[in-house]
Amino acid sequence: MNLWQALVYFLREAAISLVRSWRVSLLAVLTIGVSLFVSGMLLLVSGNLSGILADWQARARIIVYLESDASEDQITTLRKTMAEAPGVVGVEYVDAKAAGENFRRSFPSLSDLVEGWKSEPLPPSLEVSLDPEMIDFAWVQGWTEEIRRRPFVEMVDDDQDWIKQVATAVALAQGIGIALGLVLLAAAMFTIASVIRLTAYLYHEEIAVMRIVGATEFFIRGPFYFEGFLQGLLGGLLATGSLFGVHYALKARYSASVWGGVFLEQAPSLGAQGFLIALGAVAGLLGAVFSLRREDLAAPTEDP
């Protein structure tokens, strides 16, 4: 038998066995499917959450309002100093004209109010974007005080409470995500392992017979490896299918609420789906490999 024939043989045997022992197969597929579904749900929620947090983070900034007569040199120097400070992602100069346009765009009902003004309504400013995860807040406090004292700085709007909250939320979300992920992974491994122990027990006698008749380990193990792989693959498909269905149903129902928006904004990505299916297949295959490793130890043909 060449390799190709062997693979066809394995696949055929695996498929037959999958159908004939459909109860055990179903149990394995469901176990893997449920584990992956729960993990996928977590992935989906944490994906959406981190998207939102990224959005919030982008809004973490300090605005330094300048005197309208600040010289270009002064602005450039300050800009450079601030850009080099730790935790600063970017510094953008918004001149008075742009600020005025922003204002009129953001608050059209108030635009009449400033219509007659000779000068622009708002001073020019430097908008400093921060990475909340990189900031030492005590240091930022001192730093903003120092900037505030510069002669050409009119005022500093530092909104630190907001930044602090976002930083805490990000850290918390990541911590909970990692912890929950680990717990789920352990639970999934445990359930998959028990299904595999069950099937290994069922296969034990069968494998002993194949050995006695003169089958090589390659031909004994191949079909079981394929069977595990197929079960995992089906479990992965089941999980992604359910994930899609559940996401769709929940989104239709809760999209109006805040939480719906937070957790259900994005559907599971193609990458995430592929990852779940591959994870299922690998889990099934590894399960078969490990259960037959135990089988190997029980073989009565140990060397003396």
Partner: protein, 242 residues
């Protein structure tokens, strides 16, 4: 079936040299057993239950390993065959087990044709071989059944068909007629006789007195693990407990 390759007639195919077997934590199941089986021989192994018959057979195809002594099959020390080569030893030895050892999740056809299938025979050849083997034991019509749908005697015959399919060099059977009524026993006996004529060496463990007396073949008798008697053809069988 084709006649297999010609070899010197008195070439020993199975040799036991002072073989003892002690199971872990158990008593001595075999105690200093020595004998030779010439190629093409048809030999019975008998003795009361617990005498060590099954153990002796298991040592030949390396389901067990001797605690002492050496066993040669075709001149090769069975205990020192590397693990990866054991399947090749077993393909030359067909075994009919007392407890059948059929695969319950596979059909009669799949059980019987297992070896040809993994050796790469195509489906039509597998079918033909399985049909031939099953016809010989009168079960050609049960190819699609599962083992547990068959009676004990039928399962026994399926396991015999599986043993016949690859024209084995050596055939070992452990109480092959234990589950059969006399008519079927006679039929199985004639099948054994037939494949022995074609060159297969047979070693049959039984305490079926009728089987022993029927053919007047060489009989090895075990008692409490010791080879108590090795009577040559036509010698009178002494009375022993079945």
């Amino acid at each position: 079936m084709q006649a297999r390759k010609i070899l010197p007639p008195k070439n020993a195919v199975i040799q036991f040299f002072h073989v003892s077997k002690q199971y872990p934590g158990g008593q001595l199941a075999l105690d200093d057993v020595s004998f030779e089986l010439p190629r093409g021989d048809f030999v019975f192994l008998t003795g009361p239950s617990g005498a060590g018959k099954t153990t002796l057979l298991k040592l030949i195809f390396r389901e067990e390993i001797p605690s002492q002594g050496q066993i040669l099959v075709n001149g090769r020390n069975v205990a020192s065959i590397p693990r990866t080569k054991i399947p090749f030893l077993r393909r030359t030895i067909s075994v009919v087990f007392q407890d059948f050892r059929l695969i319950p999740r596979k059909t009669v056809f799949e059980n019987v044709s297992f070896l040809p299938r993994i050796l790469g025979a195509d489906l039509s050849r597998q079918k033909r071989l399985a049909q031939e083997a099953l016809d010989r034991v009168g079960l050609g019509h049960r190819m699609g059944a599962f083992p547990l749908q068959l009676s004990g005697g039928e399962q026994q015959r399926v396991s015999i068909a599986r043993a016949l399919i690859n024209e084995p060099e050596i055939l070992i059977a452990d109480e092959p007629t234990g589950n059969l009524d006399p008519d079927l026993s006679e039929e199985i006996l004639s099948i054994f006789h037939e494949i022995n004529e074609q060159g297969t060496t047979l070693l049959i463990a039984t305490h079926d007195r009728w089987l022993l007396e029927r053919l007047g073949k060489r009989i090895l008798t075990l008692r409490a693990g010791r080879l108590a008697d090795d009577s040559q053809p036509l010698s009178t069988t002494e009375g022993e407990t079945p």
